[in-house]
């Protein structure tokens, strides 16, 4: 492979782990001046981690970072990245909602001060917006909080390309078109092509494969924390890109789930429609089924689960739910565990109502439940009265499973619960889910791991908040899930 002489950044053997989870397993990535690199991969492939390392937001456990030929591994952070001309447009917006468009530009550039700073800031950001999104209707004195999410995204992108004194060599765009309409997305991609032609480098991450294929000069495919393919864009087409992202083995052959009599029939437990869905496609779950919710992370699966959870018992316009519902959170820290409590208290909280005798909670019954579920879920702890944080991540997750499975809920929602869980735990939990489903429980399982879909009776694929495909079990292939998850058009 011939490399252009000047490398903007050069990462060598960068590795990074979060606890037991290896996010990056020794990645090499070099970006040359005037190159547009497309970065694609399925959930958990390591794209976001890599981008965060590149932007200086994360310090890798291992590896070397060279910027413009200079090794600055040890003093690399957001500030030095900016000084060295590396900018990043993060998916979560980093604008101040209480400030105007021009004022947000001022926050970004220390140089915008002195008497006429307001005029200069407005001119700077206004000109860049005009350049990237001609015909936009954003004024420099508009307050960010009043703008639609798409316009905020436009401001954020434009701001990343403004220059005062620091150089601009590399801009990382992480799903930049996710909240833009087709016209503005097209304007942005055209601008990226012009910018690249002028010598600035861009890294583009997008689930719109057409965008990546049509804009980038080189495409890097990631999987399981490593780079699995890196070739000029011309060497890829949509199909080869999808197959590079996936495993070669087809899912079908290894399906471990025994058939349940009456799959896709019987009593309907959940019937729900996405609020954004324009056609009449809806999610249906029958008693005893395991229903998969697939697609890229953040495309409406969690929202659907929460909608079902909120509608439990009473139902609403978009969801009909029969019977009590329990939810198993994926983000343990924010949605799941109570960090000040013991393991036992964390397990029993969902079921306490049934243990109240003469106003007081029956301690014996509470302890008995904790002990039973310690055994059933094989929670590894000497004492269920220990604090929940003494457990490993996987065992904390088991406690959350115990909370839901030990409850009276006939319907269990799972919000990508295996995030950051070790393989041994996963296999134990899969077993448990199978047993419970056979016993008549209904599971709605949002997962970002395609492998887990093979445990499901029926799979719904989500994209941009709506269901774009529903796949019966015998038609399930990885290629079909990936293909539905990634949008074709640019």
């Amino acid at each position: 492979m011939t490399r252009p002489p000047q490398q903007i950044v050069d990462l060598t053997d960068v590795a990074m782990s979060f606890g037991a989870v290896r996010a990056l397993a020794g990645v090499d990535l070099a970006v040359a001046a005037g190159e547009c690199v497309g970065l694609v991969g399925h959930n958990g492939a390591g794209k976001s981690t890599l981008v965060n390392v590149l932007a200086g937001g994360l310090i890798p456990d291992r590896g070397r970072i060279k910027v413009a030929g200079e090794d600055i591994t040890h003093r690399f952070n957001v500030r030095t990245a900016h000084q060295h001309g590396i900018r990043c447009v993060f998916q979560e917006l980093s604008l101040c909602p209480n400030l105007t468009v021009a004022e947000n530009a001022r926050i970004f550039h220390a140089r915008l001060r002195g008497m006429s700073w307001k005029r200069r800031a407005a001119a700077l950001i206004g000109a860049k917006l005009d350049e990237i999104f001609p015909g936009h209707d954003i004024l420099p004195h508009d307050i960010i909080g009043d703008l639609s999410i798409g316009r905020r995204q436009m401001v954020e992108i434009a701001r990343a390309f403004t220059v005062t004194v620091e150089p601009l060599d590399l801009v990382i765009l992480d799903e930049p078109t996710s909240s833009l309409d087709a016209v503005t997305a097209g304007q942005l991609l055209a601008f990226v092509r012009r910018q690249v032609a002028m010598g600035t480098s861009v890294i583009l991450i997008s689930h719109m494969l057409g965008e990546v294929l049509g804009t980038c000069s080189r495409i890097v495919v990631m999987k399981d924390g490593g780079v699995v393919a890196a070739k000029p864009a011309a060497a890829f087409n949509r199909e080869s890109l999808v197959s590079a992202m996936g495993t070669v083995v087809e899912v079908q052959g290894v399906a471990p789930r025994p058939e349940i009599a009456g799959s896709r029939q019987g009593e309907v437990m959940v019937e729900a429609r996405s609020r954004r869905q324009l056609n009449d496609r809806k999610l249906v779950a029958h008693r005893g089924e395991v229903i998969g919710l697939a697609g890229l992370a953040g495309h409406g699966q969690t929202r659907m689960l929460l909608q079902i959870f909120a509608a439990a018992g009473k139902g609403d316009l978009f969801a009909e739910v029969r019977g009590p519902v329990a939810i198993i959170a994926g983000d343990r820290q924010t949605d799941g565990i109570f960090p000040l409590w013991s393991i036992g208290q964390n397990v029993t909280i969902r079921s306490l109502r049934g243990m109240v005798r003469r106003l007081l909670i029956d301690s014996d019954q509470e302890r008995a439940m904790a002990a039973t579920w310690q055994q059933k879920m094989r929670i590894k702890t000497p004492n269920m009265d220990d604090n929940i944080l003494t457990l490993s991540g996987g065992n904390q997750q088991k406690a959350l499973f115990a909370r839901a499975l030990g409850s009276d809920a006939g319907i269990v929602l799972m919000d990508d619960p295996m995030r950051g869980v070790d393989v041994g735990t996963k296999i134990e939990v899969y077993d448990r889910i199978r047993q419970e489903a056979a016993g008549g429980r209904t599971f709605l399982w949002y997962t970002t791991e395609i492998d887990e879909l093979k445990y499901c009776d029926h799979v719904y694929v989500f994209r941009n908040g709506i269901i774009v495909d529903d796949i019966p079990r015998d038609e399930l292939t990885e290629a079909r899930v990936l293909s539905a998850s990634f949008h074709e058009a640019a």
């Binding site: 329990a326 924010t334 409590w341 909280i349 909670i361």
Partner: protein, 317 residues
Amino acid sequence: MTVGVVSFLRGQAWIWSFLATAAVWMATIIFTGGVGGGQILTAALSFAIFTVIVGIGQMFVITTGPGNVDLSIPATMALSGAVTTKLMDTQNELIALGVLVALGIGICVGVFNYLLIRLLRIPPIIATLSASFLVQSTAIAYGRGLRIKPPPALADFTTAQIAGVPVLALCGLAFTAIMGLVLARTMYGRSVLAVGQNMRAAWLAGINVERTRLMTYMLSAMLAGLSGLLLSGFSGGSSLNMGEEYLLASIAVVVIGGTSVAGGRANVPGIWGAALFLYLLVTMLNTFGASAGLRLILSGLIIITVITLAGGGERKR
């Protein structure tokens, strides 16, 4: 290892407030040459009980999570004192009615506080502050600054002692034990602790978050109302500013007593330790001949020191 020690000490934080109480008491009686140690304790118990009652209400509120605090306690105490003394009109037969009215006032204020928080979507500090303006004004308008004596039986009850131990303090002790049980062993108590640790996780665990908050604000205001009635019995009539010192005191005993201001961890015995400590501290400074100014400065500094050492904790979300 260190983590274990720290978490153990945090779990036992109430010990510190009692140790500090003992130290302050010792310092005082050493200074007086051993004279009056018993009386000081009796007085401390007599006065601390009112701080304990409102402190427990405040503790439940603060335990429901960051930002939750009830600033309407002093106004509620004043209103309850003014209304009930006038209503009971020095007649013993009307005491029961007075208690009901005091609790009723608490329920009204609590519901009003909660509705402001919920409907106007404003922080509890602002909501309870705005409500306290209205409540205080009602108290002023209703009380007209008249000082009506409490019914004799109420005055007797609130000042009665058994072997130097105030009866009210004994009742308070029983009440504290009950509230400890409520916190640890009832659905409501568990809900408060869960909501305070993580409101979203509590909702997802099937807890009725809004009902828990409503009940908590009601509880706090009811205790303030009750305390207003008892205090007017104790001090021979209600006064409009009698609740004033309980604004800081109710928050201070919660913080000093080892309850986490970040929510989710309450400490019932600590309320007693802290309330006794605050009273004895003032007594000690008085004995040492310290001026009013110095007493105020030290009270303030102690609260800030305790909160600094306990730490605000990592802000969750």
